[in-house]
Subunit: 194 residues, 2 copies
């Protein structure tokens, strides 16, 4: 098969482009961030970005993919160390929130930029999101709950609250992402297993 005959340069600036794009997309949103903004942030001319990405939308998709990859990786790593179903869900919630509020830009782009903001790439973005949601669905399915409990609502309640936290969270030493996630889980857990 045809593949590039030479390896990319060692001073590859593609990671830097992705970093700044992620930062700007999460700060200002997709539509309000121009290719010139991104180019200026990496000290490059606007046209040069098109050597790396065919279109602005493709740049977003790349950031989005990296964001989903980062969160998924972190959550997988966290739940692997637990066996008790409630402990696993708590570990996942903590990892999810830490990925969002501490890891920073990439993960938050996934939460902030809506598929409908990028019509031509919407399908790809939705697919990426869904693959992640399935992970939490499994964790909730494994919980020992009374039969009348609505597991879907439980998942939506928890994940919605976690994702929404980006809007009110302020980094303030106390009230860490970990503490917030645990507090949420405590409120949900006590009700179900007593």
């Amino acid at each position: 098969m045809s593949q590039s005959l030479r390896a990319p340069r060692s001073d590859n600036r593609l990671p830097q482009i992705l970093d700044e794009a992620a930062r700007l997309f999460r700060e200002k949103g997709y539509a309000a961030t121009s290719m010139r903004d991104i180019a200026a942030a990496v000290d490059m001319l606007p046209g040069s970005l098109y050597y790396h990405f065919a279109a602005k939308e493709d740049l977003l998709v790349a950031v989005y993919e990296e964001g989903v990859r980062l969160i998924t990786e972190k959550v997988h790593g966290a739940i692997a160390r637990q066996t008790d179903p409630w402990q696993r869900l708590e570990a996942a919630a903590v990892a999810h929130l830490e990925a969002l509020l501490k890891t920073g830009d990439y993960a938050l782009v996934v939460i902030r930029v809506l598929p409908q903001d990028v019509p031509r790439a919407a399908a790809r973005l939705v697919k990426l999101r869904d693959s992640y949601d399935a992970l939490f669905a499994e964790l909730v399915a494994a919980l020992p709950l009374p039969p009348e409990t609505d597991r879907q609502s439980l998942r939506l309640l928890l994940l919605g609250a976690l994702n929404w936290s980006q809007h009110w969270y302020r980094d303030s030493g106390r009230n860490t992402p970990r503490a917030i996630a645990r507090s949420f889980l405590r409120l949900l857990r006590e009700a179900q297993q007593s």
Copy 2:
């Protein structure tokens, strides 16, 4: 005091402008909606909008204010008919979600458009949001809860999940906004009062 000497016309198109602006802002977001989009939606020339609003940002603020007014009004009406603290919170949650998912555009703009998207008007938008949040804080404060319960987390958990529902909710006959809100409250309530 100086006020206009003549009443506005009876065929006033200002409400129509607000309606279409709300619809577009909620569909595409603030940055991706142009004044020309709005003008076309009300069958007007772009420049004519500036008779009613000095700037695009002022148009957003007007939509935002109406959105907050609508939600606040609906929630106030709902809790006035209840006396039990948990019933009052449930009524508020139902009203909040119905305002978001049924009333439609105005309320959703408040949830979707972030103050940071509109730097010059951010302060005004934040103020409007906070005035509403205080309402829920009061309702949660009135709940009869064990002393160790974190009331702030409870409020953030509930309100976050409600607001996030815009991202996954599909109008499907079943699973009404009312049913969703009740389901959420059931999950929270059982834990705290048993």
